[in-house]
């Protein structure tokens, strides 16, 4: 019965938080708006009532201090989840995330680690413009000492949140409001999706498309359309963007000989560039065509709906990219 229970992406996150807070008294949730659906949708529903204000802490607008407090609490033995309802505001918190949390374990010779989850929500579209739209996973992925996960499905959202909370080191958990209504069967039990392991979402033989987060859904759409035209793409959902599942990517490229990387971030020095470089270095000899990237242009997010439509990449762009190398 439980295996057929369906849950939305956002409620899958909510269930992970409920179960982990129940399971481990050192887990707590802190951040701006944790008691307000305005900020975090229904991802935090019921937590305050169940666990109280000691462990569900809505905060003043102080991203730097609150993120640092989460890191400090982690160093003192807690397992905090600090939520940033809009990733854009995480720039204020780069010091505690990067200088402190990411470096702490290494620069102290492995003596103390910071088991903290930095949860950043991508919240774009709707003419919100440049500072209410950004996806910073590529920047975080560049930092040694941060693991970065980006679930594309409700199942992975729950399993990766649980894995992130249990991870002894800092994890950046990036989700996307555009995925929140997506539903699928999600087990009721506590389970982990292993950090660092990708997933073949669809088997194919002609082109490998490596992707993550919302772009996985666009790629699945593309695959269905392409299949009708006799083109079978293999869809690799990274799930974790740092460290990437190198062997899974390479095995797929060995099979297809062609690669498109579809990423919801910017182009220059981004995730797509990294995956492309990896395949160029390690599987150049099997490539039958140049690698193609589908990314945001190197441009801030616009407000105008007409411009937005051109800015964000969809299945159409993925189809075009695939066809360009066949």
């Amino acid at each position: 019965m439980s295996s057929h229970r369906k849950l939305s992406y956002s409620l899958a996150i909510n269930e992970a938080l409920h179960q982990m807070m129940d399971d481990d008294p050192s887990v707590f949730l802190i951040g701006q708006g944790v008691k307000s659906p305005w900020y975090v949708g229904d991802t935090a529903q019921g937590l305050l009532e169940r666990f109280g204000t000691d462990r569900v802490i809505d905060t003043p607008v102080s991203e730097n201090a609150m993120t640092g407090a989460a890191v400090g609490a982690a160093l003192a033995g807690m397992r905090p989840v600090i939520v940033h309802p809009r990733m854009d505001f995480m720039f204020y918190a780069f010091d505690p995330i990067i200088n402190e949390a990411a470096n702490w374990y290494y620069m102290n010779g492995g003596k103390l680690s910071a088991p903290v989850v930095f949860w950043g929500i991508i919240n774009r579209g709707g003419e919100q413009a440049a500072q209410h739209s950004q996806s910073l996973h590529g920047m975080f992925a560049q930092v040694p000492g941060l693991k970065v996960v980006m679930p594309a499905t409700p199942y992975d959202a729950k399993g990766l949140m649980i894995a992130a909370i249990r991870e002894p080191n800092p994890v950046v958990f990036v989700d996307d409001r555009w995925l929140y209504k997506l539903e699928e069967p999600v087990p009721e039990k506590i389970y982990e999706v292993e950090i660092g392991k990708g997933n073949i979402v669809r088997l194919g033989t002609d082109v490998t498309v490596v992707t993550s987060s919302f772009m996985v859904q666009e790629t699945i759409k593309a695959s269905e359309i392409l299949a009708k035209e006799g083109i079978n793409i293999e869809v690799v959902d990274l799930r974790t963007v740092k460290p990437v599942d190198e062997s899974l990517i390479l095995a797929s490229v060995h099979k297809t000989g062609r690669l498109v990387v579809a990423d919801g971030g910017w182009r220059t020095c981004g995730l797509a560039a990294e995956v492309s470089a990896l395949v160029s270095e390690k599987a150049f000899s099997v490539l039958k065509a140049p690698i193609v990237r589908v990314t945001l242009p190197d441009c801030p997010a616009p407000a105008s709906a007409i411009l937005e439509k051109s800015y964000y990449r969809t299945s159409v762009d993925i189809i075009r990219a695939v066809k360009s190398i066949i």
């Binding site: 050192s26 707590f28 802190i30 000691d54 462990r55 802490i57 905060t59 003043p60 102080s62 730097n64 201090a65 609150m66 993120t67 640092g68 407090a69 989460a70 890191v71 400090g72 609490a73 982690a74 160093l75 003192a76 033995g77 807690m78 905090p80 010091d95 505690p96 200088n99 402190e100 702490w104 374990y105 290494y106 620069m107 102290n108 010779g109 492995g110 003596k111 103390l112 680690s113 040694p144 000492g145 941060l146 693991k147 970065v148 080191n169 740092k242 460290p243």
Partner: protein
């Protein structure tokens, strides 16, 4: 200097002797780096703490091993005062595998989790929020621990300090903000950094109890520390203490930053004025004047600490450097 350490403070002799010993350990250990730095043997930048020992020792003597502290770029003193191993600290400054951070951190990243010293970092004001979080952890667990953040007058220029004070006051967190005001933010005199020179005033608008104390009077610091700890433990935190002090050395390394030298920052008369307020000398005068210890006992203490420091250097020099094959050993992502 008589009368500074008011006789109405009736502390046990053992405690006074221990406080003196801790300050002396910091001073002699700090000064032991001068020669190796000048000779190039120690290359890692060292922000020496000489002259500021009373703040570290006064505050840490008011804490237990279960309490937490976080340091900054100038934290040799905090680390030692909290009970960190001297051998491991010296080895770290020599960047050896036996160092407290296994040669990956150096002078600015000292850590001793076994006594609640959870780390230090040179991003100015960067560890204030970490101490805030440690205090928050204590509140969630209701375990009575207190967290201390040590930062300098330079950190008052960073916005995060104000964010942290606000949240600490809002949640009545058991955190003690220790501002070591040594009048210089690297090269900048405080009067060129801020209009209000009384730093303790910055905490009041947040509803935080705040005081300015003589940071070169170890018993005054200790007494203020005890009161602050008591307040924090009883749920009436936070507390802010501005400790007036002075570094005998310059910002970094042995250079004293005296005017006329290449660093050209501090007037000679100012340095000499503060040398006259040497916290160790003052405390030793007090101890002998009050008949608590004899001059001979002080001499012996100095001899013993000198030996400890020498042994720590020997330990560091004997220790291997980290292995190149282990460059990435402590990277997990």
């Amino acid at each position: 200097m008589k009368g500074d350490h008011s006789g109405n403070l009736n502390f046990p002799r053992d405690l006074l002797v221990s406080i003196h010993r801790q300050m002396l350990r910091i001073r002699l250990c700090e000064e032991s780096f001068v020669e190796p730095i000048l000779s190039g043997e120690v290359r890692c930048p060292c922000h020496l703490d000489s002259g500021e020992e009373a703040v570290a020792v006064g505050i840490c003597s008011a804490l237990t091993e279960r309490d937490y502290i976080f340091g900054n770029h100038r934290s040799h003193g905090h680390y030692l005062a909290k009970g960190g191993s001297m051998q491991e600290m010296v080895a770290e400054i020599f960047c050896r595998e036996t160092g407290c951070s296994r040669g990956r951190g150096g002078s600015m990243h000292l850590i001793a989790p076994y006594v609640g010293m959870l780390g230090a970092a040179p991003i100015v004001a960067g560890t204030i929020s970490l101490a805030l979080g440690a205090a928050l952890a204590s509140t969630i667990r209701k375990d009575g621990r207190v967290a201390v953040t040590f930062f300098g007058d330079g950190a008052t220029g960073e916005g995060i300090l104000y964010e942290c004070m606000n949240f600490a006051a809002l949640k009545k967190l058991p955190i003690i903000f220790i501002c070591e005001n040594n009048y210089y933010a690297t090269h900048m005199p405080i009067r060129e950094c801020r209009v209000e020179e009384d730093i303790n005033e910055i905490a009041r608008p947040f509803g935080i109890e705040s005081r300015q104390i003589d940071g070169n009077n170890v018993l005054q610091v200790y007494d203020a520390g005890l009161q602050a700890v008591e307040k924090c433990r009883s749920g009436k935190g936070p507390v802010f203490l501005e400790c007036l002090t002075y570094r005998f050395r310059g910002h970094v390394g042995p250079d004293d930053n005296v005017q006329g030298s290449h660093t050209d920052i501090r007037p000679r008369e100012e340095i000499e004025l503060w040398q006259g307020k040497d916290p160790i000398k003052r405390f030793e005068d007090y101890l002998t004047d009050q008949g608590i210890v004899t001059k001979e006992e002080l001499r012996m203490a100095r001899e013993e600490v000198t030996k400890e420091v020498t042994e720590a250097h020997d330990f560091a020099r004997r220790s291997p450097s980290p292995r190149v094959e282990e460059l990435e050993r402590y990277v997990f992502a």
